[in-house]
């Protein structure tokens, strides 16, 4: 086509839009003229006027079809039809507000929830990490062959990896670290990371201001510099650019601020206020015995595959096992893409949520489809007529699809609102309690809007296509059937199928939610071995610049004595760390009266340094022997109290009291080779509700002191009432010590925050799905009762009782629901396996959950069917018969 032609065409097109109406009216006139001419011709040929007319009509072949096809030739027809269909659809919605509201609410919820969860999945799982070539960054961990999948590494191993690896570059260590900084006279507890200088180039992130560490500042062993996070710099330092080069006063002496990282920077999702170097020389690393509390990060070199890096690291580790069997026996190395390390734990939960919203969306879809279909029954006659008069089927399908798309588009817009609300609810529910990496970056941006609208359109097509085809199929049958009763037989069949599908889908959803709920309830009812209710905890850090361990113990003792004297306090005690979820120290140990086990054979235990009265305060049962007392001091005989689990595993029926253990940590004297005498046995404590019981050793604080302590206070009242007075007592002793107050209930609750949030969310989705399914069953049964009004009238006139009519209708509904339940149970069993990793002490095929959900669904479906059935049976037979 030449440009000129194209211009002309465009002009014609524009003109034809303007002239559209005239043209349409003209078309009818033109057809009429044509027929008249033809008739006249036949008359001239000798036919009777009637015959001539009939022949002319025959010759012409369906006025409606010709004009319909001709209209299709008019270019703007498609566009205009769409506009007309949209307007028509909107008008239909406006005229049936009940239907419109039900359908729109259904769609908005389904689409909105899907968009919200998808945006979480995208933020957390799908988006690449904000590092240079994030796919090349790996985390390196060690692991024992039993149990724990990722464990901290030995610095001595790290030193060798760094030297020997050819496939990895920028190997650096990362570990948690805490500091107390004094800013404007206020002590502040900072949470940060100790990082090798290599970590920043490994991630490929440059500081926003200043610089990161140098090799000398790290491996030179001078611990004098600090890099701040953007967030800390902005909220606490007042975003001043001139802080670079100035010292920050901390409990470990002044640290020179050399850089500020860009906003949102994290190392593998760990939030940090600051970054400081390990400041250990290579020689110090090599000499480090045991494992620290860090893992390593590195970058896979260009031209090297991930698999090659894994193979090389395994080889190096095998060398290390030979070189240092004490350290490395029964261990191996784990190399994991950093993205996997960050999201591996939350992925199953997020995917379960995605599955749940997907099911809700499907139920919503089926629901709207059946609503549309039931409504289209009323229009089947209209469609039948139009088809008989020559309207092409494609045209009718297009019209119906447009109507459902109008519905879905409005539903999608409303869904955006729902998604925003979902985000808020989600963030409120998850809060800071669940460490989901990158969740704070959650947002509703353009891609999500596109995604939502795409889902909406797909939903529109999905729930419009079945009604569109069913309602426009084979007009002859439709017309014939329509003469007898409202909708065609085929339409009823499709409606029944939709009910079955809907019931099956919501059963899958309910069963999944039921499993997660049951698992969560079990988790919550696990006996942790202590009584968390009524206990207030206060984490206190004394500035180590001014306190040595001995001074610290004096100060803490003073604080505990004063707290114990407060009204309403039953007892107060201290420990080096919170009781859950992590141990203060992990160590190996062995019995003095037995030969020392070979490397890799030594049992390991978690260790908690505590003050006298700790067991009583926490509600841990003392089973044998005695508690620590003030007579256990730094200079007295080293003593320990052990857990029942340790006794069972190491002493098997022997009396443990008076026996001695060697342990892998230092006594207050600085010696590691002291022998610790067991003076007591206490009941087991679960530090992870869903984890196994661990063997535990308690040591007196006096023999294993520190400058940090968690003060625990058992009260007779709401523990929070005491928080101000406890803080005051600590501040009076040391004004520069930061105090963090939590109830023990909160501390414990946080450990099961993820399963709680997951089960709540899935339950919400399941309830929504169930409600939608109930509405669906109700809608279809109500429609069916309306359609069968006449039949019911006849039955009642012939002597059927109200009761038998109700039984007929409810029975019919229940048959469908039962089929749906059966299919749903099958599908749920197939899908339940994928939830396995998320379940605690509940089998994926938990018979209670499955039968419970089936019964619940049947009950609700019965109610949903009974309501319209009641309406049917309350009709007077005469009214029922008159309806037609």
């Amino acid at each position: 086509m030449s440009p000129m032609t194209r211009l002309t065409a465009a002009w014609q097109w524009l003109r034809s839009i303007v002239r559209r109406n005239a043209l349409e009216r003209g078309l009818d006139d033109e057809m009429q003229f044509h027929l008249d001419q033809q008739t006249e011709k036949f008359i001239r040929a000798g036919m009777s006027p009637t015959d001539a007319r009939r022949h002319a009509m025959l010759r012409f072949g369906g006025v409606a079809r010709v004009s319909e096809e001709t209209r299709d030739e008019i270019r703007p027809a498609l566009l205009e039809d769409v506009v007309r269909d949209v307007r028509f659809g909107a008008r239909l919605l406006w005229r049936t507000p009940g239907f419109a509201l039900a359908a729109l609410a259904t769609l908005a919820i389904g689409i909105g929830a899907t968009a919200a969860i998808f945006s979480v999945v995208r933020t957390v799982i799908l988006e690449p990490l904000p590092y240079r070539e994030p796919g090349r960054v790996v985390g390196i961990w060690e692991t024992t062959r039993d149990g724990v999948t990722r464990n901290v590494i030995a610095p001595a191993n790290f030193a060798e990896w760094r030297e020997r690896s050819r496939t990895l570059e920028h190997l650096g260590m990362v570990g948690y670290d805490g500091l107390t900084a004094v800013i404007h006279g206020e002590p502040q507890k900072l949470r940060g990371l100790a990082c090798s200088f290599d970590v920043f180039p490994a991630l490929g992130v440059r500081p926003m201001l200043g610089r990161t560490f140098t090799y000398d500042e790290d491996y030179g062993g001078k611990a004098g510099v600090i890099v701040l996070s953007f967030e800390y710099w902005q909220t606490r330092i007042g975003a001043r650019a001139d802080v670079l080069g100035t010292p920050l006063a901390t409990d470990r002496g002044p640290k020179t601020i050399v850089g500020v990282m860009p906003p949102g920077f994290t190392v593998a999702g760990q939030k940090a206020d600051f970054f400081i170097p390990f400041a250990m020389t290579v020689a110090e690393l090599r000499a480090y015995s045991g494992r620290g509390s860090s893992y390593a990060i590195a970058r896979v070199r260009d031209g090297v595959t991930f698999e090659q890096a894994v193979t090389e690291m395994r080889t190096i580790f095998a060398q290390r096992v030979r070189e240092a069997p004490e350290l490395n026996a029964r261990r191996t190395v784990v190399v994991i893409p950093l993205q996997e390390q960050m999201v591996g734990d939350v992925r199953p939960a997020l995917l379960a949520l995605m599955g749940a919203v997907g099911l809700v969306l499907l139920v919503a879809c089926v629901n709207v489809a059946s609503l549309l279909l039931a409504r289209s029954a009323a229009r089947e006659r209209e469609f039948g007529m139009r088809t008989a008069f020559g309207a092409r089927r494609a045209r009718l399908v297009r019209q119906m699809l447009t109507e459902s798309l109008v519905l879905a588009t409005i539903g999608g817009l409303a869904g955006l609102v729902v998604a925003t609300l979902c985000h808020r609810g989600l963030l409120a529910l998850v809060g800071d309690r669940i460490p989901i990496p990158r969740l704070e970056q959650l947002r509703l941006d353009l891609p999500i809007v596109f995604f939502t609208m795409a889902v909406a359109l797909a939903t529109g097509v999905a729930c419009g296509i079945v009604p569109a085809f069913v309602a426009t199929q084979r007009p002859n049958e439709t017309l014939r059937d329509a003469g007898r009763h409202g909708g065609s037989r085929r339409l009823h069949r499709v409606l029944r199928t939709l009910v079955i599908v809907e019931v099956a889908l919501s059963l899958v959803l309910l069963a999944g939610a039921g499993l997660l709920m049951r698992s969560f309830i079990k988790l919550q009812n696990v006996d942790p071995g202590f009584r968390a209710g009524g206990v207030l905890t206060a984490s206190v850090d004394l500035p180590s610049t001014r306190y040595d361990d001995a001074h610290g113990e004096v100060a803490f003792k003073e604080a505990l004595t004063r707290i114990a004297a407060l009204p309403g306090v039953i007892s107060a005690a201290g420990a080096s760390c919170q009781l859950v979820p992590y141990p203060c120290i992990g160590t190996s140990f062995w019995r003095v009266d037995r030969p020392k086990p070979g490397s890799g054979e030594t049992p390991s235990s978690q260790v908690r340094p505590v003050t006298p009265g700790f067991f009583r305060t926490m509600g841990i049962t003392e089973m044998a022997g005695r508690d620590f007392s003030d007579a256990d001091t730094a200079g007295s005989v080293p003593v320990i109290v052990v857990s029942d689990q340790l006794v069972r595993q190491q002493f098997r029926g022997e009396n443990p009291l008076g026996r001695r253990l060697r342990v892998g940590f230092e006594h207050v004297s600085g010696r590691e080779d002291v022998e610790w005498t067991i003076v007591g046995v206490v009941s087991d404590v679960r530090s992870n509700l869903d984890g196994p019981m661990r063997q535990t050793i308690y040591v007196p604080r006096s023999q294993r002191p520190g400058t940090g302590m968690v003060l625990s206070v058992r009260t007779t009242q709401d523990p929070f009432v005491l928080s101000r007075r406890v803080t005051e007592i600590v501040r009076r002793i040391e004004p520069q010590a930061p105090v963090e107050i939590l109830t023990l209930d909160t501390v414990v609750g946080d450990t099961i925050a993820q399963p709680r949030a997951l089960s709540i969310l899935v339950a919400v989705f399941a309830i929504v799905g169930l409600a939608l399914a109930a509405i669906g069953v109700y809608g279809v049964m109500a429609y069916s009762v309306r359609e069968r009004t006449q039949e019911i009238g006849v039955r009642m006139a012939l002597g059927a009782t109200q009761h038998s009519v109700a039984r007929l209708i409810v029975g019919q509904a229940l048959r469908l629901v039962l089929i749906g339940v059966a299919i749903g149970l099958g599908a749920a069993m197939l899908l339940a396996r994928s939830l396995e990793t998320l379940l605690y002490d509940v089998a994926p095929f938990d018979p209670w959950t499955f039968s419970g959900t089936a019964v619940l669904l049947l009950a609700i479906a019965t109610v949903a069917a009974y309501v319209p059935a009641r309406r049917g049976m309350q009709m007077a037979p005469t009214d029922a018969l008159r309806v037609q």
Binding site: W11, Q12, D29, M31, F33, G61, R65, V66, T70, E73
Partner: protein, 113 residues
């Protein structure tokens, strides 16, 4: 009705309509009559194809239409060729001649062979 669509090669209908309009503006019925007459009643155009074709050609700007009064004093829509239409018809006709000549050559050859 048997001589509808199937018997007229796709694309030739447009040419026939344009040919009918070459001499003078005509209404739809007139066009069917003219084509039937010229083709010695072999080609009886079904209206189901004629009117869509007319609207299509008008959209393409090859013909235009206006309402006029017939000799019998009735209103009818008369179609006439545009300049673009004449040019297009010329091109199409040349193309058709080339093609039908080629097709005939092939068919004759196979007869002799």
């Amino acid at each position: 009705m048997a001589t509808e669509r199937g018997d007229i090669l796709q694309g030739t209908l447009d040419m026939l309509v344009l040919k009918a309009l070459q001499l003078e503006p005509m209404h739809g019925w007139g066009i069917t009559e003219r084509i039937e007459q010229w083709s010695e009643s072999v080609l009886q155009l079904g209206q189901g194809t004629l009117y869509p074709a007319l609207y299509r050609l008008e959209r393409q700007g090859l013909i235009r239409s206006e309402w006029k009064v017939t000799e019998n004093n009735r209103r009818a829509r008369y179609y006439s060729m545009t300049r673009e239409g004449r040019r297009h018809f010329g091109d199409e006709l040349a193309h058709w001649r080339r093609m039908s000549h080629a097709v005939n050559l092939v068919l004759d050859a196979s007869l002799k062979g």
